[in-house]
Amino acid sequence: MTLSAPSTPSRVPRPPAADGARLTLRDAVLGRRGAPVLAGVGLDVVPGEVLAVVGASGCGKSTLLRTLAGLLPPLGGEVAEDGRPLTGPGGGRALVFQDDGLLPWRTARANVELPLAIGKMPRSQRRARAVEWLGRVGLTGCEDRLPHRLSGGQRQRVQLARALAGRPRALLMDEPFGALDAQTRAGMQQLLVDVLRSTRATVVFVTHDVDEALFLGDRVALLGSSPAAPVRLVAVPRPRDRAAHDTAATAAVRRDLLESLAS
């Protein structure tokens, strides 16, 4: 498991956001039919940004993400991508699940090939492209393993490779590192930062870990802190910079978020 050392200064400038999708919710009601979870949600995810979403369990983080993916139609209001209302899943919005998102009967490579096949890439090119993506997430040599032969961290790398191989315009991540131990998680965060350098996709990253949100996000959206304001947005002082963890500015934002979560 090779990872770039997290100690190197890693203030990562991301490429200009020409390709990322803009995701907007206006006065949206989210949830399953008959069981709304969030109401009056207004949110504008800027093209190319990393928006971290935090909130207590059950506050609707996953519901928000599934709505943005198009899997869950809004019960009211408007959900749009680049100004056009979302009609369903697909359309270049890839979803990374917490765990078990891989098809267990397909090898790591075959899992990564699936979005390429759906995107009608010729069979001859798929294999090379999938192997290349697996290499990029540090899984060279594991191409032919089935998911249950991979560790939890490795499976999440395959999911990341699979999501990015489809060249999405938005990457929606649902607590992707939530089931990993602290050390693996830190490594995966760094890996994510590294691979995001090569894409301009907009990222919505759901987590219950405030530190993870403050490391990865350009902004943090706090969900469900009060019914009057279902979404509170906080700017992150120095995104994707490990050294910023102990600065006074980050500490202040962290305290603010933790207090809102506890209330």
């Binding site: 998102g101 699936l114 979005p115 759906i118």
Partner: protein, 310 residues
């Protein structure tokens, strides 16, 4: 599993079989008459002689071919249609509402009770027997497919949908492969009941076939012949269900089963004999705190040691 352990298991199975035949030979040759009467039952030797004689006749092989032909046609149709209907009912509410009630009403009827209907419906006995075999295997396949389809992890489907896949893609890449373990469960049950029904139907209305021959031998009081028929049915049934099991294991090799499969005994033995802690998946709770690939102590690529024999 090591070759030695495998040889040991085959030895046990052979001993078991020989003990059974020995007991049979003993009670019949000694004309045991406790409350159960063994003195009329042919001995193993008599049955073996008769078997050897029949193997040399063309009639035996014709019966065998006829029965196999009937069961494979009926079972094949049941497998295809059972999976198709099971998937439809499991996936579509409309299909469930339209087909569900009919299925639930027809399902409890034993296939062999359909003989009168089969005689009315079909121009010849041949098609009637295939129909009865089909009816026997169809429902187990349908029901297990329906359950397997409904038990699929929703995340798999959502993953394919968010990649831009449509419903056919979901069907081909998620529903069918994901339901295969359940489908093969239904096929295993199905091939068993198909044999019961093909033999019964042949006994009632067949011309040729193992079941027909067995019944004929009974009516002329040829008991060794009857037992040859039974042994033939047993062997054919074992052969076909082994084939289904084998195909099932080949098709579902992705299931993570080596840890809890047939190797359990070996692992337990090893854990008992060696003082050192068994490494890997046994010692640590799965993937919670440890980010290590789940490696088995011994990789077991041979499929036939992966599931307990049924």
């Amino acid at each position: 599993m090591t070759g030695e352990a495998r040889a040991y298991r085959y030895l046990l199975r052979t001993v078991s079989l020989l003990a059974f035949l020995g007991a049979w030979q003993a009670v019949t040759a000694l004309r045991v008459h406790l409350w159960v009467h063994f003195e009329q039952l042919p001995t193993v030797v008599q049955v073996g002689k008769e078997f050897g004689h029949r193997l040399g006749t063309g009639a035996y092989w014709q019966d065998l071919g006829d029965s196999l032909d009937r069961i494979l046609t009926g079972f094949g149709l049941a497998a295809v249609l059972g999976v198709a209907f099971g998937v439809a009912i499991g996936r579509s509410r409309l299909a469930e509402d339209l087909l569900g009630p009919i299925v639930e009403l027809l399902r409890p009827i034993p296939a062999i009770a359909l003989v009168p209907v089969a005689i009315l419906l079909f121009p010849s006995n041949e098609q009637g027997i295939v129909f009865i075999t089909f009816s026997a295997a169809f429902f187990p396949v349908l029901v297990s497919t329906r359950h397997a389809v409904r038990a699929l992890t929703p995340v798999w489907e959502e993953a394919v949908l968010t990649m831009g896949g449509g419903r056919w893609r979901v069907l081909a890449q998620v529903v069918l492969p994901g339901a295969l373990p359940g489908i093969f469960g239904g096929l295993s049950v199905g091939i068993g009941v198909a044999w019961i029904c093909v033999i019964s139907a042949e006994m009632i209305s067949g011309q040729y076939g193992v079941g027909y021959r067995t019944w004929q031998d009974y009516t002329v009081v040829d008991y060794p012949g009857v037992l040859v028929g039974m042994v033939t049915i047993g062997l054919l049934g074992h052969l076909t269900s082994s084939a289904v099991e084998f195909a099932g294991r080949r098709a579902t090799r992705w299931l993570p089963r080596t840890e809890q499969g047939a190797d359990r005994g070996a692992i337990r033995r090893r854990a008992r004999t060696s003082p050192a802690p068994v490494r890997g998946s046994l010692s640590a709770p799965e993937g919670v705190s440890e980010d290590r690939p789940r490696t088995d102590p011994v990789p077991v690529p041979v499929p036939d040691s992966a599931t307990p024999g049924r």
